[in-house]
């Protein structure tokens, strides 16, 4: 374990930015998001969660992956390779889990090569939570806000300093690269344990319990419950775009004369156009089917494929849904509550 005094953070950013692209939670005027850091940017490591989850670093909202030109002997293609190594600093444990859930999708056969390359080349520094929000519920999905298994490096906030624990080779080599700024932290292990314990205890439970919910939903596809709460849904894409586990995309071509490019971009199952077929038929004709799909995907379909609920309890949908049709409300409505609790 090594530690870094917070006053040395700017030095750390400069050091890291010299050798690699560096993504940090930056205040963009009210909303904090992971952006490539440049000198002078205001880094906010206290913001509980970035507005847009850091999935966007690996699974970009718009990503060109092919360029083409028409030549005499036919189409000529040029593949696009993503930029090189990067460090992503300040990922919360829930968001890290979100990235791991995307791994299940994008790294299974056939592998998504762009996603894979970014994942392999990026060193993730996770940051433990010290002050969960009332809309947090990560512990419901067995996520420990004080730990981040799978992160290359874990940073624990001790108030005046960060304590780093390397969890992979990439993490260790990052620590070596910044060794000049670090001090030994073996003596702080107790304090680190305590901070992590407190973080876990502070996450509210909301009286939720998802034990057996996946199995229960197996027979609820036609349940009348889906005919009720969807009615207030506006059909916007806020929940899906801000969700760390949503990963649907569309592929489009942008052609100009003799040349063009093919890109993919985020898409949302909340939009009517998402399932609209060329024939004009739409298998999810109303918001009812769309809302049902979103929640069944998180709580039933995905778990069937990958043995894990596709929700990490980050609370973004809770905070941002304009009509509060969020995960907590829906789990409650579907009966995922502890007996005797609200």
């Amino acid at each position: 374990m090594k530690k870094l005094k917070k006053e040395k953070l700017t030095e750390l950013w400069s050091l890291l930015a010299e050798r690699t692209s560096l993504y940090l939670p930056v205040d963009e005027g009210g909303s904090v998001n992971f952006l490539p850091w440049e000198k002078g940017m205001e880094v906010d490591l206290d913001a509980l969660n970035s507005t847009i989850p850091p999935k966007s670093i690996f699974f970009q909202q718009t990503e060109v992956y092919l360029q083409y030109t028409t030549e005499e002997d036919g189409l000529k293609f040029e593949e696009i390779t993503p930029q090189g190594p990067a460090v992503l600093f300040g990922v919360r444990p829930c968001d890290l889990k979100g990235i791991q859930l995307l791994d299940n999708v994008f790294l299974q056969e056939p592998e998504d090569s762009l996603y894979k390359q970014r994942r392999l080349e990026t060193t993730i520094v996770a940051l433990t939570c010290t002050k969960p929000d009332s809309s947090c519920f990560c512990t419901l999905f067995d996520i420990d806000p004080g730990a981040a298994p799978g992160a290359d490096l874990l940073a624990t906030d001790l108030g005046e300093e960060f304590v780093f624990t390397a969890q992979s080779e990439k993490g260790e080599s990052l620590l070596e690269a910044i060794a000049t700024l670090l001090e030994d932290a073996e003596a702080d292990s107790k304090a680190v344990e305590e901070v992590r314990r407190q973080a876990k205890a502070a996450v509210p439970t909301h009286g939720l319990d998802v034990e057996g919910l996946k199995e229960k939903l197996d027979s609820m596809f036609d349940d009348p419950i889906w005919g009720t709460f969807y009615r207030r849904c506006l059909g916007c894409g806020t929940c899906t775009y801000l969700c760390p586990t949503c990963h649907c995309f569309d592929i489009q071509d942008h052609t100009r004369g003799e040349e063009g490019l093919r890109f993919r971009c985020w898409d949302s199952c909340m939009f009517g156009e998402f399932t609209l077929m060329a024939s004009g038929h739409n298998p999810r004709p109303t918001q009812k089917e769309r809302v049902r799909n979103r929640f069944l995907h998180k709580l039933n379909y995905y778990p069937k494929n990958f043995e894990s609920y596709a929700c990490v309890g980050c609370g973004r949908c809770v905070r941002k849904c304009p009509v509060n049709l969020d995960m907590i409300e829906v789990i409650k409505a579907l009966g995922g509550v502890t007996s005797g609790s609200c």
């Binding site: 060109v64 942008h254 100009r256």
Partner: protein, 149 residues
């Protein structure tokens, strides 16, 4: 060649591209008259014939900018002369407001212009096209709103 020389050369080589939406009954006929009367106007103008100036939707204006126009002009019949009686009165309101909206988001008003040219005003057609081209040329290439892909 130094960078400055190169950019200077590029700037000199640059010619403004202007998209002019012309109403079929007046402004387009004005253009015809300019042509048959051998009145010169710059080759920077790309005319798109529309049935009425009120056919021009703000989305078309933005699309022109997206695809590389440095300036956009909407030209219709003079108020009172609309082939469809009242189309250009709607144009006047719509485009007045839209022009101010563009200004508000940082687009110079010279880049988006509206004018009335009748079928008998060949000279005015040529003069407007010359003026707009020079005004846009003075502003330089437009990067705002452009889809640079």
């Amino acid at each position: 060649m130094s960078v400055t020389e190169k950019s200077l050369q590029e700037k000199q080589a640059w010619e403004p591209l202007i998209v002019a939406f012309c109403c079929n009954w007046c402004s387009y006929a004005g253009g015809d008259l300019a042509g048959t009367s051998r009145m010169p106007y710059p080759a920077n103008i790309r005319v798109i014939r529309v049935p009425c100036s009120s056919r021009v939707n703000p989305m078309m204006v933005l699309r022109a900018f997206q695809r590389g126009a440095d300036g956009v002009l909407v030209a219709g019949c003079h108020p009172g002369d609309c082939h469809y009686t009242s189309g250009n009165y709607y144009t006047r309101r719509r485009m007045s407001v839209f022009r101010r909206l563009l200004e508000y988001t940082g687009i110079e008003p010279e880049r988006f212009q509206v004018t009335w040219i009748s079928g008998s005003e060949g000279a005015k057609f040529a003069q407007v096209m010359n003026r707009v081209t020079e005004e846009v040329r003075a502003l330089g290439p437009n990067r705002k709103l452009r889809d640079a892909r």
